[in-house]
Symmetry: C2
DNA sequence: ATTTATTGTAAGGCATGCCTTACAATTTGT
DNA sequence: ACAAATTGTAAGGCATGCCTTACAATAAAT
């Protein structure tokens, strides 16, 4: 059980590392701790787990980097986050902040089937902006 | 910190107790353990916590019962569950089983704002079944 | 009434995930 | 080159939540 099944905690770390990767930012443990509002010691533990799972490579005092497998795994989480955030913002008209906060938690537990439906429905709304208007009007009544 | 802030674990216990309450079923610890697929010992611990939080009353070998506060608290969780389940089923067209499983997890973390929007959108779809058809057609393309 | 089944729980464990303290190793700045 | 700042981590803790084992208390059945 050293492979597969990554906990939602580790997913959060991985996601944050992935964001740095996308932005070509050098990321060390201490910076990750700051970004996540977590102690350096906790980050240290978490990184060891991610290394054990071969999702990152990491040596003390050097930047963290994702393995190929880590990138794949991280992208999945990252994508889920944005599917949810977009759905909340564009279909349910939730503020970006609140949409993001909720996406952060839900991304770890929601099924792919539901996410796929959310993608479709988000697109449907983008193609039919009049629906939102209609929906808004009925909400008032 | 003996009041307020109930963990998602405890919410699950409370919800199950509430369901028995709604059905006028007598519920003892052992039965709850069976229903939740959890050991009697774990249930024992959890019930002690719920008693400490004044959400249930419970004496060994007697049925569990909700306090007024417990009923309120449980109803909130229970309602959230059904809002999510209905939304997944009726708007996103997810199977009842999958809708239920996802609702079970998400009910503990989603914001009330989003739930309110889901209620509105679910109603909107109930009032406009033609939208689902339209949406389905576009999905195929 | 007494055996049998059920129910409850204390004790001791395991895993996850976070903390602080305190010290070690490495960089950086001058 | 060396003091200062930064970074990393071991050790020891805390909380949640679940487990098994083993025994105690109660309820049910005959």
């Amino acid at each position: 059980m050293t492979e597969k099944n990554i906990s939602s905690g580790l997913e959060d770390y991985l996601e944050e590392i992935y964001i740095a990767y996308l932005n070509n930012n050098i990321l060390k443990g201490a910076e990750l701790a700051r970004k996540m509002n977590i102690s350096r010691a906790s980050v240290s533990e978490a990184l060891a787990k991610l290394v054990a799972k071969k999702l990152i490579t990491y040596n003390s005092y050097e930047p963290i980097s994702l393995t190929k497998q880590g990138i794949e795994e991280a992208k999945k989480v990252y994508d889920k986050h944005h599917i949810l955030k977009n759905f909340f913002e564009n279909v349910l008209e939730i503020s970006p902040d609140e949409a993001g906060e909720n996406a952060c938690k839900i991304e770890h537990i929601i099924s792919q089937n539901i996410l796929n439906k959310m993608i479709s429905l988000t697109k449907f709304y983008e193609n039919h902006p009049e629906l939102i208007q209609k929906y808004k009007e009925e909400q008032i009544k």
